[in-house]
Structure formats: C-alpha cells, structure tokens
Amino acid sequence: MKIHEYQAKKFFSSYGIPVERHKLCANTEEAVAAWKEFQPKKIVVKAQVLAGGRGKAGGIKLAQNETEVRTNATSILGMKIKGYVVKKILISEAVDIESEYYISFIIDRNTKSVLLMMSSDGGMDIETVAKNTPNRIYKFSIDPLIGLPDYLARKYAFLFFNEISQVNQLAAILQNLYRLFLEKDASLTEINPLIRTHAGQLIAIDAKMAFDDNALFRHPDVITLFEPTPEEKTETEAKEKGFSYVHLDGNIGCMVNGAGLAMATMDMIKLYGGQPANFLDIGGSSNPQKVINAMKLLLSDKQVKVVLINIFGGITRCDDVASGLIVAFDELKTMVPIVVRLTGTNEKEGRELLKGTRLLSAETMSEATHLAVKSSGQIL
C-alpha cells in the first residue's frame, strides 16, 4: 500500500526527520493563501498522486509570485498523471539547495534483510542511476538483530560528509528513517532528494512510503490512509472473499486455484492467441459458494465472453469440485460459455459428472485453453 508525499512527510516529522515548510491545498485560493502565509521568495507546487514521475509529467512547478502560484496551481489541479487525477497539491517552501542525496530503506529479497541504499546522485531517478552507474549507489544490509546502532549510522554518514555536525544530522536521519520503517512495517521509506542547504542543514524535500500489506492488521493508523482506485477497490473486495483478483483488458475470464497456475493459465491464453480478462486465484478449496462468488466477480466485467476454469484438484477431489460447479451454475444461470479443466484425484469421475451439462470439459490445460480461445473468437 502506498501513501501520498504529504502523508509520508507527516510520518517523517513525527519521527524527527526534518522536512521543509509545506501545506496541503485542495484549490487555487488555498494555494495562494498558503503562499502568502509562508512569505518566501519562492514556493513549489507539487501534485499529490500515488504515482512516480510527477516532475516529468509537469506535476511539480516553481512559483515566485502570486500570478505564478495561481497559474501553476490551476494547471496542476485536475491534471492526470499515469491515470491518477490530481485532487490535492502541496505548497512547499523552496529551499536553497547546495547538494542532493538519495536515501532509502527497502526489503531486499536476496539478503533477506532490510537494505539501506544511499547515493550522492540525489534528485535523479534512482532506477536509472542503478542501471547506468551502479557503483554510485551504496547498499548496506541491516542485521535485524542489532538494527542500526550509532557507530554504523555514523560510519555510513561519513561517506557523504566530513563535518561532524552534518555527519550527526545524517546519522540521526538514517536511524529515524529505519525506526519508522520498522515501527510501521513499511516496505519502502525513501528520501529523494535529501538536500543540504548552503547553511549546512539537511532537509528531506520529498518523501515516499509504502507498506507491507501483510502487516496492515497491526497498523490501524496506516489503513485509514488507504485511497483505493476503483480497480483496487474491486481487488480489495475480492481479497475479503478469499480471492486474489487483478483486472486485465481481455475477454477470457479465468478462475484458477493457485497463483502460479493462474499466471501460467493467463500466459497460455496469450500464447494461444487469446486475451485474458483477469487474474483470479480462488485459493485452496473450491466449494460451491466460492465458485458462485468468483463467477459473479468475473461476470461483472462485461468484456468477458468466455470463462476458463482451471482446477488442479490436488488433495481436493475432482468429483466434489464438479458437483460444486454444477450447483453453482444452476444458481448462476449465465449464458456465457464455460470451459472446465479438472485434474487430480477422481478426475475421471469429475469429468463424467460434467457430461450432459452445459459446461465444456477438457482434460489438459492446453486443450482447455484452445477451447476457450476458440470460443472467445467465435463470439466476437
């Protein structure tokens, strides 16, 4: 789960990480009022959306007088960045920048630890820096059993600064950012850029945070910040029913047990020339109610012209699954063609049960996919 810059800055402030003066505004008048209140020479108008690349999209602009504040606020509010409409802007005091740095903590799958990343190429797209000049990024694994003690924080801070006052500022920022990461179960805390002013002060002028979905249950304060897109709303509702669902743009709806098999099913549809309408993992059991709920979800997408059900029985018996499917489709009364592929314990009995129903039964994944792709083409 991601949050906005202004929300991340609030966390930063409460964890003692210095940020510039800023104010959240919902319209041009509020923006002008904020500018007047700050009375600096310059301010920055920043779009608040849950997407990266705001600067490139024209969502971050400098303003030096009331007219510019007005023009920029008006143009940024309502603009679309990567599909997100800008509803709020941040009016930030423009600080004088002597140098820029990049600091982040992320989860590193390979070292199975939290990773501190630091670079003196701040203010740039860090993925580009990583690709072109990987030697300009420092990476340090944090031992979860000792965390980030003073001596380590200082050692890392000395990489950027010689003056002890700045080393101490940076060491404190590193420790606080790590503490924030741990205490809120973040999956990312990032400052890009962290800047040094001419007076030698370090300030985080951007803030980015994302959180571990598995840990949200213990962070009610974070959950309240969730702003789902319509798509994410559907996905969240699906999750509450025990499914993993991702909407795609094709016309072949898929219902599969298991995430890996569900991905492989989508891939095969594409490989055979079709277009998957979704990713849907219905999890281990496949009782009739679950199938009914899953079908309702699939059929709510009007693009869906055919449904492919791919169940690898495993421990569940295929004849039980087949009976469940029959009950489910008696209740659903949909006219959309359904292709069912059942494999595992009692698969023959399962297929036998499906004979004479309007469900098309297939033996292998390949056969089922062919059938589904063919049906999707015929209807179009």
Binding site: G52, I107, R109, N110, K112, S113, V114, E127, D143, P144, L145, L182, D185, S187, D212, D213, N214, A215, F217, R218, S244, V246, L248, V256, N257, G258, A259, G260, L261, A262, M263, A264, M266, D267, M268, I269, K270, L271, P276, F279, D281, F312, G313, G314, I315, T343, G344, T345, T364, M365, S366
Partner: protein, 285 residues
C-alpha cells in the same frame, strides 16, 4: 538419496489441533511420513490421530527426537513458531502459513540461521521425496520416485508440472515448493546446489515467476556451478507491471522482475525454458 527429507525424517506438526494442521497431519502420516507428534500450547497431553500433542516444541523434541517441523500456525503467530522450533533444536523448519508480515519473517530467518537450522517457506506447499517422506500439503499421489529434482515458487503450478513429468515416466528425487513471499528461506541457489550434489538427481526443473531477480541469480549460478541439465518455466509473462499477482512476491516493480528478463538470463546460461508446462518433459529428454 534425495535432498532435505527422507525416510529418517522425524516430523512434528506445530499447530496440530487447528483445522489444517489436523487434516494434513493425517495425510502426511498416510503417505508414510514419520510423523511423531505435534504441538499446541495448552493442549499438551492430548492426542490427534494417535499422535501425542505437546505444549512446547522443546518438550516435543525431547520426547520424540523430532528433527523436522511443519508449521500451520496463523500468520500473526507463525514467525514466533519458527523461532521456537529453531531454539528447540529442530534442523529443518517448513512454514506453510501465508500472510506473515515480512519484517517478522526477516527476523525469524536470521534467528534460524544463527541457530544453524534451515527454513523452507513461508507461504509454501512444502516438499516431498517420493515414497519416503512428504512434509507439506502437496497431493502425494501425483509424485513418482525418480531422478528429476524440482524447485518452485508456486504450489498448484508445481503439481501441474509434476503431473506432466510423472505421466511421461519421469519420476522425482525431491520436489520443493520454496514459497511465494518476497522473503523466504531456502531459495533457488541453495536448492540448485543441493540438487547438483545429490547423486540421485540427474536433472533439474525450476519453476519461477515474476518479481525479484532470484531467477537471474540462479541463471548465473547454473552457468558457473551446475553440470546437470536444467529446464525452467517462468510464470507471469502476461502480467501487468505494478500489480501483485496473488503471491506477495509476484510483482513487477519499476520495470524489473519481468518474465522476459528472467527467460533471457536463463537461456543465456544454457537453460532450456518451456513455453508451457506440458512442454517440460520433452525438453528434459
């Protein structure tokens, strides 16, 4: 021979009194796994499927000489169970539980390593050495004894692949489901090394998916250290970026972790990559 588990594996089930623990304890026992007991705090002294239940893993180890543990404990307590098992002297810990906070897994994993034990999972289906021992929720009947080592990030996709292998007469030495979370215990590199060193394993099938760069690192490892033939399948070629595909770890972030990159890296290392699961036996022979 095989890797990780065999007929000498002595297994306890942590969370044996829960629905899943109880169900799979019986299934594993029926498969022939030496299940020697289970734990459930507060229910020590009772029994489930004629297996003794203990309050703590310490007690279970002392009474049954268990060396392996499987965990079916709910997500918010599971990392604690992993640490208890390691502290009680269990050598191999398999965690089935899905949805454990990542930072909890990181801590538990480091703890396990410091205790010289090994973790598989979390969010995994477990592993099986056919005809000897099954530790997990995998359907035992689809596996066949043989010489193909299987390692995978997935559950049912592994069954799909194994189904094709067994049907083609290609049995398995050991099949391991490593888990679908971003941070899990044993991973590609560790398992490739074990399969390379196992005389019973003649070839290797690895099943990867989008997210992270473990498959790329595996490709590098295969190029330099693996002499046995390797066939791979990567799921998620049609997955959109930025979306989590069921598994917490299956996400393309900032343009990296795509199936295309993984396939290219594997092919460059001489690994044959199947276009669909059914093609794997043919590429192996």
């Amino acid at each position: 021979m095989s890797i990780l588990i065999n007929k000498n594996t002595r297994l306890i089930v942590q969370g044996i009194t829960g629905r899943d623990g109880r169900f799979h304890a019986e299934k594993m026992k029926a498969y022939g796994t030496q299940v020697v007991g289970g734990t459930s705090p507060g229910k020590g002294g009772t029994s489930i499927h004629e297996l003794p239940v203990f309050n703590t893993v310490y007690e279970a180890v002392e009474q049954t000489a268990a060396n392996t543990s499987i965990i079916f404990v709910p997500a918010r307590f599971a990392a604690d169970s992993i640490m208890e098992a390691a502290d009680a002297g269990i050598q191999l810990i398999i965690c089935i539980t899905e949805g454990i906070p990542t930072l909890d897994v990181i801590k538990a994993h480091h703890f396990v390593r410091e205790h010289g034990a090994t973790l598989i999972g979390p969010n995994c289906p477990g592993l099986v050495t056919p005809d000897e021992s099954l530790v997990g929720i995998l359907p035992g009947h689809i596996f066949k004894k043989g010489h193909v080592g299987v390692l995978s990030r997935s559950g049912t996709l592994t069954y799909e692949v194994v189904y094709h292998l067994s049907a083609a007469g290609m049995g398995q030495s050991t099949a391991v489901g490593m888990g679908g979370d971003p941070v899990v215990g044993l991973y590609f590199r560790d398992l490739l090394e074990r399969f390379e060193n196992d005389p019973e394993t003649h070839s290797i099938v690895m099943i990867g998916e989008i997210g992270g760069n473990a498959e790329e690192l595996a490709a590098e490892y295969i190029r330099n250290h693996v002499t046995k033939p390797v066939v791979a399948f990567i799921a998620g070629q049609s997955a959109p970026p930025g979306k989590q595909m069921g598994h917490a770890g299956a996400i393309i972030s900032s343009g990296s972790g795509t199936a295309a990159e993984k396939i290219a890296a594997l092919e460059a290392a001489g690994v044959r990559v199947a276009k669909e699961p059914g093609e794997i036996p043919q590429l192996l022979s």
